[in-house]
């Protein structure tokens, strides 16, 4: 389970060849689309069947003839009716397989077998009571069954089967939680974190901490957002939860059902205790609480250990198993953030065992970021050791290790009915396999530096936390925090700091609502001032000189990196609303952000990504360079002073010596 969820999280970011990781791009896009449309689908008062559906964040993917299983939790108090999913069959040539079938199992029996010739189809899988497990979840798996006719070709062809866009359809009313322990189930649609219109810094700190905790607990497309009291959902729908952050005398969690039946948890307290209580929302220990009201809940996360020596198990899998005829694959995400900071190279030492090849052709290939980095032929020696070096040029923010086992029987046919030979089975020991990294940013830049550059510590600053007109900076900050948390490997320690403190300090962090002065002080590549792009970019994005804009950028200032979100318009007003569209884009996934600049303008429906190299030098930057002329002035003045000094000091001595020589000459002349 850990492998699959990590894999899903890792796949979300990178655009990989479809046949290698078909779940990722389509799954993310579909889930995003589902998430974005969720408000319409499951809005308040929607009594249609759409209101009885909830998207499932997991997806499964399997290569070769292996099977893969996920578990779908059914909301308490409801009855599962159907599972809807998109079945994708992919081959290197594109499209479906030439022959063979896909078997789908739910529970302990096969529920559907379809031909594998179609690349994509929407499946509707009825769920009966016998398919629901004792823990109230439904397990689902898929497996490719090659046809008898083509032999190894169909297997070697690397057929990949995926189930994506999974939605659970159920009936009944979700059982209302009554205790903090049951407030956050395994499957949640939306969590709204409510802050008052004029919150104190303690409340904002706690709200953003809650957002981080909840975003870490629930992957996309579960929406985790900050809202003001007027933005709270007033009618319940499946998977909706509301968390209110309030100042009180002591830290306590109270489970309350608000009017309209919207499950609401109120977290109240004061000072750091309020944030500590909010952080507990991300803890599994919350389930242990059976009381309706919990006091003095104190969860202070231990400081993450920024180690550069980890095991493969630290990234998820305790064991990686490969086997069967043909091609089988396994993927492990190796995000830099696991190391508690940026790293610029890694060495992987994989250790495992395999069954003897015994006349069978079998080799294990290792790919890092889609590049073949190692390959070994399996023989009769069961020990497997493989060392892989990932250099600076190959490193990205979220690296991926793919192991591909290819096994051919002696006669070259893969027909299972023949029963010839026993295919090789291989297991990589996650605890014995190590990954050593070297600190450094390498060639990773821009948005890719996050979140690993934070070291799991995220100071957040906002110029205005009140719910003033135009844009809600706390909400925006929440969107960025949630997105960063979902890209992180460990919980982020979110803390609110003053804007000037962050700008003038030395910590990496996030600044929302930046001003022109902030960008000047930080030496940002894009100043919040009149901006022009180079001609081709200007034409592509319809942005001319003087256009209002909002921008999210990465600023590298000394040894730190700061995310800066701000806006500008000629006349000083009118661009703040553009910042909201930046938040929506960021919510779509941090790994979707390329380059180092995300810009929103009135001319574009959606924000666009661009490099700050495409921004023409701005007046503020050029003006700063003007000071360099004092070096020239100073140098010229120094030369003049040296000349004068020479005249004053050395010139006088030269004159004295010359006078002495003349006197000698005169005396010699007189003697003559």
């Amino acid at each position: 389970m850990a492998l699959r969820t990590k894999r899903a999280a890792a796949c979300r970011a990178d655009a990989r060849p479809v046949y290698r990781r078909p779940a990722c791009r389509r799954g993310v896009a579909a889930l995003l689309a589902t998430g974005l449309g969720l408000a319409a689908l499951v809005g308040p008062g929607a009594g249609s069947s759409a209101a009885d559906e909830i998207p499932v964040p997991q997806s499964l993917s399997t290569g070769g003839t292996l099977s893969n299983t996920i578990r779908i939790p059914v909301p308490a108090g409801t009855t599962a009716r159907r599972v809807l999913a998109t079945l994708v069959v992919d081959t290197p040539e594109g499209g479906g397989a030439e022959d063979g079938a896909v078997a789908i199992r739910m529970g302990d029996r096969e529920v559907r077998r379809v031909s594998a010739d179609r690349a994509k189809r929407r499946m509707v899988l009825p769920v009966t009571a016998d398919l629901v497990d004792d823990d109230g979840s439904v397990s689902i798996s898929a497996r490719y069954l090659p046809g008898d006719g083509r032999g190894c070709d169909s297997v070697l062809g690397g057929v990949t089967v995926s189930l994506t866009d999974i939605v659970l359809d159920f009936t009944g009313r979700e059982q209302r939680p009554t205790t903090p322990g049951t407030f956050l189930p395994d499957l949640v649609n939306t969590v709204q974190v409510v802050v008052p219109d004029a919150p104190s810094s303690d409340v904002v700190d706690a709200a953003l901490t809650a957002v981080a905790a909840l975003a870490g607990r629930y992957p996309a497309p579960t929406k985790v957002e900050v809202v003001r009291p007027t933005g709270v959902e007033d009618q319940a729908y499946p998977g909706l939860r509301v968390v209110r952050i309030e100042e009180g005398s002591a830290s306590q969690l109270t489970s309350v059902s608000a009017p309209g039946g919207v499950p609401t948890l109120t977290v109240s307290g004061s000072g750091t205790a309020l944030s500590d209580a909010a952080r507990a929302l991300g803890s599994d220990g919350l389930k242990l609480s059976s009381a309706a009201r919990v006091t003095d809940l104190d969860l202070t996360e231990p400081a993450s250990d920024p180690d550069t020596e980890l095991t493969l198990a630290d990234f998820g899998p305790t064991t990686i198993g490969l086997g069967g005829w043909g091609v089988s694959r396994a993927y492990v995400g190796l995000a830099q953030d696991y190391f508690g900071g940026p790293v610029d190279s890694m060495t992987l030492d994989l250790s495992g065992v395999h069954t003897p090849a015994d006349g069978i052709t079998s080799h294990l290939d290792a790919y890092v970021n889609d590049r073949l980095v190692a390959s070994t032929v399996l023989d009769d020696d069961p020990e497997l050791e493989m060392t892989i070096d990932v250099d600076r040029a190959s490193m990205v923010a979220e690296n991926g290790l793919e192991l591909v086992l290819t096994t051919l029987p002696p006669e070259g046919t893969c027909r299972l009915a023949d029963g010839r030979g026993i295919p090789v089975t291989l297991e990589i020991d996650g605890n014995a396999s190590t990954i050593s990294a070297t600190r450094g940013t390498g060639s990773v830049s821009g948005f890719g530096m996050f979140p690993q550059v934070l070291g799991h510590d995220l100071p957040v600053a906002m110029r205005d936390t009140a719910a003033t007109g135009g844009v809600d900076q706390v909400r925006l900050a929440g969107q960025v925090v949630a997105s960063l948390q979902r890209a992180a490997a460990a919980p982020l320690d979110v803390r609110v700091v003053g804007a000037d403190e962050l700008v003038d300090g030395t910590d990496s962090g996030l600044l929302v609502g930046a001003t022109t002065g902030d960008t000047d002080a930080l030496g940002a590549p894009l100043r919040l001032d009149r901006m022009r792009l180079v001609d081709f970019a200007e034409q592509e994005f319809g942005m001319g000189d003087g256009s209002p804009f909002a921008a999210l950028q990465t600023v590298v200032d000394g040894g730190r990196a700061v995310l800066v979100l701000g806006s500008w318009s000629d006349g000083g007003a009118g661009a703040t609303t553009l910042m909201s569209s930046l938040g929506s884009t960021v919510s779509g996934g941090w790994r979707n952000l390329r380059e180092d600049l995300l810009v929103a303008t009135p001319a574009q429906d959606t924000p666009f990504l661009v490099s700050t190299d495409s921004v023409l030098p701005q007046d503020a930057e050029i003006e700063e360079s003007r000071d360099f002329m004092w070096w020239i002035v100073g140098g010229a003045a120094a030369v003049v002073l040296l000349v004068l000094l020479g005249y004053l000091v050395l010139g006088r001595r030269d004159r004295e010596i010359r006078d002495l020589v003349r006197a000698q000459e005169r005396s010699e002349t007189e003697e003559v």
């Binding site: 002329m629 020479g646 010596i657 000459e665």
Partner: protein
Amino acid sequence: MTDVVEPADVDTRVGTTSAAEASAPAAATGSRARRVPGTVPVFLLGVACAAAASAYTLHAGTNLDYGDAMAHLTIARRITDNQNPGLAQLGSVWLPLPHLLLLPLVQSMWLFSTGLAGSVVSALCLGATSAATWRLMHRLGLPLPAMLAGLVLLLANPALLYVSSTALTEPVLLACLTMTIAGLAGWAFSPRQLSGGELAVFAGIPAAAGVLTRYEAWPLVLAGAFLVAVVSLRRGRGVRQSAVWTLSFVVPSIVAVLWWVAYNQIVFGDALEFLQGEYSASAFADVFEREGELTTAGNLGLSSKVLGWAMLETSGIVLLVLAAVGLVTTSLLWRLDDRNLVTWLGGSTTAFLLFSLTTGQHIMVNDAAMPPGAYNNRYVLSALPWLSVLAAIGLAHVGAALTRRRTSTAVAAGQLDRGRPAHVVLLGGVVVATVLQNLYWLGDPYERMTVIQEAHVQHLAYVDTKDAARWLREHYDGGGILMDQTPDKSSVAPVLGLPIDEFYTRASGAVFEEAIADPYGHARWVFMHRSQVEGSATDTGLDRVTARLALDPQFHARYRLVYAVEDIGIYRIVEGLR
């Protein structure tokens, strides 16, 4: 040369102290003849260094990386090999002398197509630069180790060696600059009063040659005129004699300028075509300004930063530090005497570059620029001889200070000790530092040396066009080629390696327009961009053949695309339809 200063060598004329000081060192150097030992060997050394660099770049295929290098070769060859031959092919974009120097050599197709014609000229120019710098250092009275150090700093510079293997114009400029300054030094420090004619020959003519090479030489003429006037007045020669000498120096340059202006008037109908024409540097600068990229204009600070970075990545930190030492010591010890004035002449081109950048007359781009890039950094090569001389002077002064045995008279005369161990040790240090610096540069030349970086950038930019050109050279079977060689990355005549009169280009004159209007009756082959050039620096950078033919269905019906790479296409007429 003698080490001991005779009392008679000390100028005891009654007059201003500055006049006495100014003249005393000249007499005290002891260099009493025009002949300077070592001139020929140093000249040959310079030629040999450039020849070795040329052998390397020819083997590596990098001597034609700069588009300008190919353009200079092409302009020279077009004077004779063209459908419209004549001196009008010199154009107005660049000053004419480098092309005239290339003219006899490019008559050989082999020397033209390999770029070796430019290598020969540049090698000779580097020899001349080395010899002139050597003579200048000698006139300044530097000890031998210091002179050798200056020579090492000059000839061991990879950027200069690379440029000296190409057909770029900087080597010609350096030769003219250094020969001018050496000539002025010979006049200023000669114990015998030289005539105005001698001044005109040994300094005025090199200056005029520089005036016809690059515009950076023009301020040198002004600075040199100032020097001549000051020196002659200091000698008490009177205003009239000073004016005669000054005119003797500047008249050749004035003649050169007048010739150039007249040429522009006759050929283009506008005496200032070179300044304001559509192909002029100011036209290019206007485009950069319009697109918001001419950020150095009006900004002395940024201009200084960009120029300084170019000098750092071209001259190197070792040379800059040693030159700074020389600047300090000359300011303290030589102050405003003739030696310092002569030395400062070498800085006139750098001052002009800074002025030109600040006034927006041209653009220079490197890592310090906004936006960053690599463009026109080789201009700062003109500072190399000046910095090398300053460094040598600094070493001489430091060596003298470290040397214990000096006579007080020698100190009074400002004479520099020669052949002392301290100078030798310092020379050794310079050699070691230069080697280490070069090793650093060669560790990553594309990042650490802006001149090489720009060459590499252009190499990559020209890959497709050069591939197409080589293909055409191999498959051309006569019949004429219609090709606009003016757009960016299209001037590849040396790589084409075909007689230029086979081409219909803008340089062909009116027949080019005829050929565009009726390609079928003129050219069997057409070489053009399949889609119009975008991002051109000026409107003159558009491909006129593309503009006329790319969307013409008749053309595509009667010509067959026989080769394509990226957006470049080579077409051959369908026989029978012509």
